[in-house]
């Protein structure tokens, strides 16, 4: 990774579980959704998390998150998960990116500047990267530009391009994301081992990738050994999600496992935390004790 580039975060608060189906028990998911139904509750929690050592909030541009951010007068660094892929997309036949973001109109949807200019050839051919960039541009307005600290391409989109072997997508969206989203750009995936292998083959170096890592192998594709192998490969920092394996592993155990096997950073979700401030402080303390420099 270029020394001038920002480094990937070590500790994020994951807040995507309020709007995306969380991998936890239904009772727990309903409990957490109920707890943050009021935007004030979520806003207070975000602030507590930042004060406790989280470097940013990992969030989607949902109405819930927009409302919470609007409550706050202070800066809340956000690593945005884009494009927004709401579960209700399954009501419709078309893929949500099949429309829009193409041709000159798609390019025009991008704000000016280097990020847009670099995307011009892709926009004129209707390439996936231009469609994604145009959606990201529009959806990122849920955050004050000064608070955006990076872009994470949502797993369904990453894995679409990965499955199709679309190397240029990764290169183009990284350049765009770095130029437009505060400097950091990476990919969320459900297929970590394959993604890391392909990125190395293609010579593409994101600032981070994000995927499940936990002692139970839950959500780790294709298997635990493959994911641990990807964690050992130098060059691409991995931010670990699903630390509690759907709620069956204590957070400390999941975090220790991820760090022990080479995860660069941790992304505990709200469903993983009972006392957000205390548990994040504990994870942050463990991070500092391990000697890892703070990112961002």
């Amino acid at each position: 990774m270029s020394p001038s580039r920002l480094s990937a975060p070590r500790l994020l608060l994951g807040a995507t579980c309020i709007d995306l189906p969380p991998r936890t028990t239904r009772d727990r998911a309903l409990e957490v959704a109920g707890r943050f139904r009021e935007s004030e509750s979520l806003a207070v929690t975000l602030v507590k998390a930042l004060d406790a050592g989280a470097e940013a909030v990992y969030a989607v541009p949902s109405p819930t998150m927009r409302a919470a951010l609007a409550e706050l007068r202070r800066s809340v660094p956000v690593l945005a998960r884009l494009p927004w892929t709401p579960p209700a997309d399954d009501l419709f036949f078309e893929h949500p990116l099949a429309q829009g973001g193409t041709g000159a109109a798609g390019w025009g949807a991008l704000r000016g500047g280097p990020g847009a200019i670099g995307m011009l050839p892709a926009a004129l051919t209707g390439d996936l990267s231009a469609r994604v960039a145009s959606r990201c541009e529009a959806e990122a307005r849920f955050v004050e530009p000064r608070d955006l600290c990076g872009l994470t391409v949502a797993a369904p989109i990453t894995d679409l391009a990965l499955a199709a072997g679309h190397a240029r997508f990764f290169e183009r969206i990284l350049a765009f994301g770095r130029a437009r989203f505060g400097g950091l750009a990476g990919f969320e995936t459900a297929n970590l081992a394959l993604l890391v292998r392909r990125l190395h083959e293609w010579g593409v170096e994101p600032d981070f990738v994000m995927a499940p890592v936990n002692p139970r192998g839950f959500g780790m594709r294709p298997d635990t050994a493959g994911v641990l192998g990807a964690l050992r490969r130098p060059g691409i920092p991995v931010l670990a999600t699903e630390l509690r394996a759907g709620g069956v592993v204590p957070l400390e155990e999941g975090a220790a496992f991820a760090r022990e096997h080479g995860a660069h950073g941790l992304v505990p979700e709200l469903v993983d935390l009972d006392d957000v401030a205390a548990e994040l402080r504990q994870l942050g303390g463990a991070k500092n004790a391990a000697g890892g420099p703070a990112g961002l």
Binding site: L20, P21, R23, T25, R26, A29, L30, A33, G34, P86, P87, A88, D89, D90, L91, F92, F93, E94, H95, P96, L97, A98, T102, T125, G126, D127, L128, R131, P156, D159, L160, A161, A163, A164, G165, H166, A167, R168, F170, E171, A190, N191, L194, R198, E201, W202, G203, V204, E205, N214, R216, F218, R221, P222, D223, A245, G246, G247, V248, V249
Partner: protein, 353 residues
Amino acid sequence: MHSPADSTAPDEGAAIATPCRVAVAGLGRAGLAHAMAAAQHEGCAVAGFVEPRADLRRFARAAGFTAPAEPTLARLLARGPLDALIVCAPAEARAALAAEGLAAGLDVLVDGLPAFGSAGAAGLAALPADVRARLGCASPALFHPLLRRGIELFASGALGVPHQVRASVFVSRVFAPGAPPAELDVLDFAVGDLLLLLDRCLGPVRSVTASAHRLYGARVDELHAMLSLDNGAEAGLDASWSVPGYPRAALVLEVEGDRGTMIASDDALEADLTVAGGGFEEGVTRLSLADVPDPLAFDAGDVSHAFDAFVRARESGERCPDLDGERAMRVLRTLDALRASLAAGGASAPVSA
């Protein structure tokens, strides 16, 4: 950093010499998910796409898929041989595409049910039984690791004779931005999967009574039904897509037998047995998703397991009971009966043979 190649062939490194040449018909969300699964499956090669809409064909290419795409199956077949067709078209077009694929000698997998009701699948029903035997229909419910484990437990006989069965599906969709398409209701959207699960566990339905709530307009938002099964058991069924807090459909199957009870869902599997059996100890056992094996070479979403089972069944030459096309046809007739009962004010409606 060196410049990446334009693309890497998705099936590069495929492990077997004669991969199954798969075509995907319908390039919506489900079609692309199947294309992803096929592209990364060691036993497959993506041989083409069928999609009448030019914008969706362009989108598949934009996403990086390089296989040929044609507006009709006939035109794709003219370009080269295929082994299997995955039908992911809109519901009103699925049955015709599946029938065309079967008639062309292909093995066919339909994503979901082949239609909204048996009338829409009349062309399939008219095919000879040996041709229809090559039809598979995929429901994620039958491949969910916990629900599969529940199916196995029930099939083991460890629960004894079932005397009470309840099944439910809850999902939050009527609140969605943009609202569901006007032609859908909760039966179309969610009940089919539940009926497939019930049929897989307990066998065919003989007759139904049903009542509905229409909360947000003319269409059915909530359904309550009683199903009389061929095996003599009765099953209660509840379905709603207007319950808040369920971003993903929550399917639950509860069975009380004379030797134990089971609550199987996509959240957990709980068994309480008076005698050990089916791989479960006597007493209460609770499994969560992280407790059951869930191997998968590439995760393309909900379709992944069913697609993998389809390819493996082709390779082995053995039928996969979880993909049984005849079950899907029975479920269409059960949906017809539910609608008939609703139209008759809740009167009992037989499921046609």
